[in-house]
Amino acid sequence: MSSATAATDLRSQQAYVAAQAADARVNVELDTGDMTLNIGPQHPATHGTLRIACQLDGEQVISAEPLMGYMHRGYEKLCEVRTYPQCTTLINRIDWLGSFANEVPFILAAEQLMGVEAPPRAQWIRTILFELSRIANVSLFLGDMGVQVGALTPVFFAFRDRERVLNQIEEVTGGRFHPNFDRIGGLKDDIPRGWIAETHAVMAKMRGFCDEMEDLLMGNEIFQTRCRSVGVIPGDVALSYGLSGANLRASGVDWDLRRDANPGLAWDQVDWRVWTHPDGDSFARYWVRLQETREATKIVDQLLDGIPSGPIMAKVPRIIKVPAGEAYVSTENPLGEMGYYVVSKGGLGPFRVKIRTPSFSNISVVPWVMRGTYVPDIITILGSLYFILGDIDR
């Protein structure tokens, strides 16, 4: 072998070693074989059918690649063959834990195209139901995060107290999970008598639930040891990956579509604040969501006291035809920015609907953030990024 080839070999070998070290942030001097571990598609932590293909060195992650599509339902295509009212039925099932919040941006986009605006009473009730679905959705996260790190009890508390919120949603809309209550130009129905007082009581209970979660889980030193400085996402990375919602705010970016780009709902009528956390780690994401749930109960309380009287439906034709045009409306959903790019050619149904779902972007940061962590951290990070599978796969 000539010396030239030997030098090239050595150089390529060195380059390989350097690349490995840089890539995995692990010590490659130890001669340990890599192991491929498939987390999912049926794994308790992926709540749904997400699959994460991990390359492991011992328990350390060299690379993690989410593979999805097990639940792809093609909603963008299906919406093209449905009328606008029929679309909301599908849209309900994108983020199935906060269904009502899914409907709102789509309806708002259609309203923008039609030049219709819902009456104030409808806007207020919309906002209330929107925040209720946020509470229902995020409270489940608050408990589920406990299960991800091994605590059994919080998730039962979450299911227990979320049920109260779902009951309130069901009493108005008739559907616990899939309200299908929002209509172009307003709402399907008004709120039943006695509902406001009941909801106030439930909000008080939910604040109690948040306190409980703080004592039981967030204040727990073991939980903090597990979550602090695990899965740190700096602000600029979060922006570049298009993270949204609490994941973005936990990275210190002060951005909330409810405040910064309110598409016309009643959030600007009440007093509330946006919570951010500078750390960007899993604990920060939990912390921000807990504070947001508390804030949401306050928003609901204030809104309940100020619902204006009036009709709940604007004048819209019985058969809805949307004028040609394009509109994009996004709202701050429980999981993050949910937006609909609706293209109409003037028919009964949309010509094209692009659904910008928060979880899709949120989970795309996984390969970046999981490098160099440990197997238990995969679960912590996945849990704290908080995705709904229907929201990734649509």
């Binding site: 449905r82 009328t83 009212p85 029929q86 909301t88 039925t89 599908l90 309900n92 009473r121 009890t153 508390f157 227990r160 049920e163 009951n167 069901e170 009493e171 108005v172 809309t173 008739g174 559907g175 616990r176 899939h178 299908n180 399907k188 129905d189 008004d190 709120i191 039943p192 008598r193 006695g194 509902w195 406001i196 409980e212 004592d215 039981l216 889980l217 204040g219 727990n220 030193e221 073991i222 903090q224 040891t225 619902i307 204006p308 009287s309 009036g310 009709p311 709940i312």
Partner: protein, 205 residues
Amino acid sequence: MPQLPGLLKGLGVTARTAMRTLFPKRGMRTLIPAPQQGSVTVQYPHEKEAPPDRARGVIALHEENCTACMLCSRSCPDWCIYIEGHKVKAPPRRAGGAVRTVNVVDRFDIDYALCMYCGICVEVCPFDALFWTPEYEYSEPHIADLLHDRIRLSEWMETVPEFLDYEPGSEQKVRKVPEFGTDDFAPARKLESDGARGLASGAGS
């Protein structure tokens, strides 16, 4: 590493919940364990949950009102409503009127295996023939059995609750559920007994 307060607080929360579940009673009877009242779960087959009146459990059909206009079938996103009907001649409503031509439903099937419970059909019905009821116990061991016909759908009319009042400030009008059970669930036969004539009955075929 671990400091006591957070860990102890957590233990406190679980212990408190256990106590609340075991001893939910207040006052003199505090120390009588009554987990049945303290727990939040429902022991399903033994006790039943009562969904709210607006709950979208199943769709009931008020057959007398149905004119087989196909609006519900067309607006269904899943194409799960199948309607067939025939025309009959019905006597005039009052003296001196002309003979009416009325649609009678022969088949009104909803495939609950496909239904997404969106409620669009109930909403578009212009004749108050479809209603939601909170009934939920109609599961079947075979998926094909979830296709329910008009007889079954009409039976559910019994369980339709009255529409609720609205909160003050609302301008909505409270709707009324039509009276049920004027006849033996068979409006077509009722029309016949009233003197209607059509293909399926009387002179035809």
